[in-house]
Amino acid sequence: MWGRIFNLVLKEFQQLRRDRQAKFRLIVPSLIQLFIFGYAATFEVYHVATAVLDLDHSQESRELISRFEDSGRFPIVLTARSPAEIHKAIDHADATVAIVIDAGFAEELRKGVSAPAQIIVDGTNSNTALIALGYVNQILAAYGQDMGQDLSRRLHPAQPPPPTVTLEQRPWYNVDYNSRWFFVPGVIATLTLVMIVNLTSFAVVREREVGTLEQIMVTPIRPLEFIIGKLIPFFCVGLALTVMVAGVGTLWFEIPFVGNPFVLLLGTSLYLLSVLGIGLLISTVCLTQQQAFATNFFVINPAFILSGFSFPIASMPPFMQWLSLINPMNYYLIIIRGTFLKGVGLSVLWPQMLALAALAVILLGSSVLRFRKSLD
């Protein structure tokens, strides 16, 4: 039995080695995807184009504006002279945030009345706006506090300054809120899903379409041996892809890997098995490559969206959260991010490992059963 499997594996590897195009298709899009994700995928807001309109021209108003400027996050792209200019800048998306300080700002501030400055935020991109608002808040709170303390010193010099409670942040595992650390390890999961499902389903469907599947089946090889022989090479391809992405991620993008590589290896193996099962399952329901292509798309795309790769599962409606429970990528992403960034081991990740193992058994098992049936 193992001899026959070995020969088949050898044949598949030779086929893969000789197929220049296939190698190109495997490596080039993977690297492109990795680099685009590494450089382009960021939710963090580093700089917010800001417009200002200062009608007060006081020391206080200039102080407020310079605090925004000095924070480094709010480059001032426009110093407007009228509200209309501000309106236009926000409308044309030249500025995302506008600071409007009306005449009388300093006077009211000195009296201790709420000062009527306005911060206008373009909310079109809600996430950017929300994060920008967080930074605006921080600057305004500090400014308000300083002004208030200044004021109480002047008004009631005998009183101690008012008590304040502040928040200290301790971001664990990713001190600089670097989106790259979140996305680049995740690319391992996406790439292996896309590549392995496509490779597996096409490899079997192509043999069926061309007619070589029948030829193989008249040889003494048994269906199970055939499947194992087909899956081993793709399993190796998946591992190679993982190593490649992990290598580029840690060496080029300097993503820390603090966990145990063997835990990641175990998770990767279980994930690869379930992904191979998906590919094989697709190949048993498709007769032509065209059908396989369409089915792959209808399977891979939801798996990607519902995985938590970029959009939090907790924000999805309950039905979709439930669907994500049967998505192997969901579990694998937790394992990847856990081993890369958190350095957690099996004591934490065992539920994910167990879920992946169960999915692998179900997917591979049913695909093997279906495959044998589809031969008859």
């Binding site: 079109t124 409670v165 292509f293 907790a314």
Partner: protein, 377 residues
């Protein structure tokens, strides 16, 4: 270019489309599925962040900090820890995205030095959730701080302190900061890019695979006529898909629509011409149908998702990647859709993206027409 020959090609293509009901179904179902999946699945609104609390003081003051977090809609306290190990376990396992720790000398500090701090430990592996949660936590603590000041002065019988509220916020266009409002236009752009390129990616390669290329080559049809005739029927299917998507976005997902339908119609036609041309170009360059549709998928899916500004803001990307985004047609269409939907922009406001899209359409059209060669070699 003769209208008669264009019409003949278009008619032949329509017959072919109608005889293949399965593909037609895919073409009409795909946008539906995509709209449902992305409309529900792509949501960046973060509420009810699960957090754990670790009260190291156990005083009345520290308890009121916890109550402030409990009262906030943005947080949900799921666990209460007794030590840092518990905090670490909860965050490691992902049960909690944030831990609020009140230090043991909290109320003492507040009483003696007038300043105290609360610690927020964040699981920053998901940097966006952490960042947004931090913003929420700041406002909770800020409000708490204000309350403490008020109580203090009241108990001392002093004038209430003035921490002037320096400014008011006005959020324009998307007042409640709902992510779906800007994601829906992006989803429409993504679906149209995908479906559009898929539609035409098969037209020429199908002629090769079915062996009708010889017949086609022997007719007097010119490249331009062929392209126009081939794209025309798909343009109508594409417009049908587009209307379907837009109707779902506006009526089902209730994305606010403040612009004019004519603006939408004109810009959508232009974008469709670009993606249909792209699909035709791929189809004319690659002989196998599967290969053509695969390449059409790769060329539209990834760039549109990542580089159109729909998921990640373009102005935060490094300059080299920003330059790359100019090559993605969905970038212009998404900018247009976003403005038309949320800002109610008219054609006059959108001159720049429309001009760029038109240039794109011309270039793709010329390349696509040239890509078809009337030879069999």
């Amino acid at each position: 270019m003769t209208l008669r020959r264009v019409r003949a090609i278009a008619k032949k293509e329509i017959i072919q489309v109608l005889r293949d009901p399965r593909s037609l179904m895919v073409v009409l179902l795909m946008p539906l599925m995509q709209m449902a999946l992305l409309g529900y699945g792509v949501n960046l609104d973060i509420k009810h962040v699960p957090i754990c609390v670790f009260d190291r003081e156990g005083s009345q003051q520290s308890q009121s900090v916890m109550k402030a977090f409990q009262a906030s809609l943005y947080f949900q306290i799921v666990e209460s820890e007794r030590d840092y190990d518990g905090v670490k376990r909860a965050i490691d396992a992902g049960h909690c995205k944030m831990a609020v720790v009140v230090p043991p000398d909290f109320s003492q500090n507040l009483a003696s030095t007038n300043s105290a701090s609360v610690q927020a430990i964040l699981d920053a592996t998901d940097d966006n959730t952490a960042n947004v949660a931090l913003g929420y936590a700041r406002s909770v603590v800020g409000a708490f701080s204000g309350n403490v000041q008020l109580q203090r002065t009241q108990s001392l019988g002093q004038q209430p302190p003035v921490t002037p509220a320096v400014a008011q916020y006005r959020v324009w266009y998307n007042e409640d900061l709902i992510s779906r409002n800007f994601i829906m236009p992006g989803v429409v752009a993504l679906v149209l890019a995908l479906v559009g390129a898929q539609l035409t990616s098969l037209t020429i390669s199908r002629e090769w695979e079915r062996g009708t290329m010889e017949v086609l080559v022997s007719t007097p049809v010119t490249r331009m006529e062929l392209m126009t005739g081939k794209i025309l029927p798909y343009f109508f299917i594409g417009m049908l898909d587009a209307s379907l998507c837009l109707v779902i976005a506006v009526f089902w997902f209730e994305a606010p629509f403040r612009g004019a339908v004519t603006t939408l119609f004109l810009t959508t036609s232009l974008f469709l011409i670009v993606v249909l041309g792209l699909g035709y170009f791929i189809s004319a360059s690659i002989r196998s149908q599967v290969g053509a549709s695969q390449i059409a998928l790769v060329v539209t899916m990834l760039p549109t998702t990542l580089l159109s500004g729909f998921a990640f803001p373009i102005d935060q990307m490094p300059p080299a990647i920003q330059a790359l985004t100019y090559l993605v047609p969905a970038r212009y269409y998404f900018a247009i859709l976003k403005s038309v939907f949320l800002k109610g922009s008219a054609l006059g406001d959108l001159v720049a993206p429309i001009a760029l899209l038109a240039t794109y359409a011309t270039i793709v059209g010329l390349l696509a027409a040239r890509a078809f060669r009337k030879t069999l070699g």
